[in-house]
């Protein structure tokens, strides 16, 4: 195999930094003894996962305001499987993920035909419909929700009683999802999504069935949101419509915007962590906190449109000139950024 820089390799410093972050995530419960802080980390990881589903649709040129709907479908699906059918979490999680995927396929096959603003508004309305339906219908427990969802059955010696055990569970789901999403983004599927985002007519002229690939992104992203919903239900041991309504879908979007829209995994990661912890420690006056958060976000969006990571990358690139030359036919020595935008 040819060893040209057209083949993007992760830089050594990036690899080291990545391993350190990963190690920190794994070792975190050893350092944090405060249960509430552990809870915040669990919520941050849920936020990262949901933000990643927003980003996956964004990577295919679709902007959703309905991520919360599929999060809710997964949560309610898992709750019903657990409370009505007595299924264990370990069966309810994959099943509710699948159910969410099937619902997404049904809904998506209609709404993905209308990309652009129409798609965004329909997803927003769909989220609203889901919340209203669960709130109004007795089957879903009404506005009071459903309580008494079982925690996951013990996994060998691991009991799911402490925050730490749930932390490792959501960490596992997070890493698994990140791995799957990364594999998609770096495959030709990810390239097709990006082509569709950058220029739908040009993508179509290449032979790409826009509808099919948009639908694929919609189903994969929504299923992941459903899986997170299942975790949520068994973590809180209850579901209520309010937990999935209101500003949730907007917040999910903000995670991705704040971290950097062009970074489909790291963007939501940074955004969700900041938006979970910063307001928490800004709670000088609880009434003022949403205003401060809102202004802060507005400033970020106005002055750092690439988000945190996009802004950092701009500085990094400006500092380092790119050298490239073509050596001979088929052999290419290129700068390290040659595929950076993929």
């Amino acid at each position: 195999m040819e060893k040209s820089s057209i083949n993007r390799k992760m830089s050594k410093s990036g690899l080291i930094f990545g391993s350190m972050v990963l190690a920190a995530m794994v070792l975190l419960p050893l350092a944090v003894k405060n249960a509430y802080v552990m809870h915040l980390f669990i919520m941050a990881y849920i936020g990262i996962l949901l933000g990643m589903t927003f980003s996956m649709l964004f990577s295919a040129g679709l902007i959703t305001l309905g991520a919360g709907a599929f999060y809710a479908i997964g949560a309610y699906g898992s709750t019903l499987l657990s409370t009505r059918l007595g299924l264990s979490f370990w069966a309810a999680l994959p099943m509710s993920t699948l159910i969410t995927g099937i619902v997404a396929l049904a809904i998506g096959s209609i709404i993905v035909r209308h990309p652009g603003m129409a798609f965004t508004i329909i997803t927003l309305l769909f989220a609203h419909v889901v919340i209203q339906a669960t709130g109004q219908m007795e089957f879903f427990g009404g506005w009071g929700g459903i309580i008494g969802v079982e925690t996951p059955d013990p996994l060998g010696p691991i009991q799911f009683a402490t925050k730490t055990s749930f932390y490792y569970l959501i960490l596992f789901l997070l890493l698994l999802t990140a791995l799957v999403f990364h594999a998609l983004y770096t495959s030709r599927i990810g390239r097709v999504w990006r082509s569709i985002k950058l220029s739908p007519p040009l993508a179509e002229s290449l032979g790409i069935n826009l509808y099919r690939y948009r639908l694929m992104a919609f189903v994969v992203a929504s299923s992941a949101a459903g899986m997170v919903g299942s975790f949520y239900a068994h973590y809180f041991q209850m579901v209520t419509p309010e937990a999935f309504g209101g500003w949730l879908s907007i917040y999910i979007q903000l995670y991705a915007v704040l971290g950097g829209l062009e970074f489909y995994i790291l963007g939501p990661a940074i955004g969700a962590v900041i938006m979970t912890f910063v307001p928490e420690y800004l709670r000088i006056a609880k009434e003022v906190e949403p205003i401060i958060t809102g202004v802060f976000l507005l400033l970020i969006i106005l002055f750092f449109s690439g988000g945190i990571l996009g802004t950092l990358r701009r500085f990094w690139r400006a500092k380092r000139p790119v050298v490239f030359r073509v050596k001979s036919r088929h052999k290419l020595i290129a700068g390290p950024n040659v595929l950076r935008d993929e």
Partner: protein, 255 residues
């Protein structure tokens, strides 16, 4: 043998005929020019052929097969490539990524294997990367194989990149929509030479172009449209002498 055959094609936009009862054909291995004043319906005709618009009436046959009702992506998969009039590129991508992403038809490995990044998939991607570099070199853009984003290229090179992208689909018929617009004379000469070389690779070409000298130089046959209707057809020599064509371009002489 006719590779592309258009029969009685008609398209109305809000009551106005953009393409009115046009028929013509392109034979295998030809370079055919489509000319006419602005608003003559050339781009509409391109969109009808390539499936971006559907005609109100008439048929489009590609290699003997009726492709009238097919979507743009289906038409593309049949082997009909096209460029766009405005610089439609993946603007925020590098030159290499533009061409690499344009390969789509060629992947043999199933999509779930692509997701798993199996060795065979990686090997296939390597081959496609080499093919992409080859096309970029062929179109004279090798100097931009580095970090250059498409949006930063000068206009003439964006046109060339557009052709790279279309070539990556390995078309049998290539539709070029005003490929020479915005090019200086040396760039024009170079691209005319490239278009000839593309034909020598066995790709049939249908092009819309305003640069008359280049069209006369390049084309085996020319079709002239005016107000959506075909007003003339023939060799460059015949078109040059055609009185109606001269009138369409220069206005009718008051007698």
């Amino acid at each position: 043998m006719a590779l592309l055959e258009i029969k009685n094609l008609r398209k109305y936009f809000s009551g106005l005929a953009a393409v009115d009862d046009v028929d013509f054909s392109v034979n295998d291995g030809e370079i055919v020019g489509l000319i006419g004043p602005n608003g003559a319906g050339k781009t509409t005709l391109f969109n009808l052929i390539s499936g971006f618009n559907s005609p109100d009436r008439g048929k489009v046959f590609f290699d003997g097969e009726d492709i009238t009702a097919l979507r743009a992506d289906q038409v593309a998969r049949k082997g009909l490539g096209r460029t766009f009039q405005s610089s439609t590129l993946f603007m925020q991508s590098t030159v290499f990524s533009n061409v690499f992403s344009a390969f789509y038809r060629q992947y043999q490995q199933p999509i779930w294997k692509a997701f798993l990044h199996t060795p065979k998939v990686n090997k296939e991607e390597q081959a496609i990367k080499r093919a992409a570099i080859e096309i970029i070199e062929f179109m004279g853009l090798a100097a931009h194989l580095g970090d250059e984003l498409a949006t930063n290229l000068p206009h003439g090179q964006q046109r060339a990149l557009g052709i790279c992208i279309a070539l990556a689909t390995e078309p049998r018929l290539l539709l070029l929509d005003e490929p020479l617009t915005g090019m200086n004379s040396s760039e024009t000469m170079e691209l005319v030479g490239k278009i000839r070389q593309i034909r020598e690779k066995g790709i049939t070409i249908l092009l819309v172009e305003h640069n008359m000298k280049a069209v006369m130089d390049l084309c085996d046959r020319i079709t002239v449209l005016n107000y959506g209707r075909k007003i003339a057809e023939g060799t460059p020599e015949q078109i040059r002498k055609n009185r109606e064509v001269a009138e369409a371009y220069l206005g009718r002489e008051e007698a």
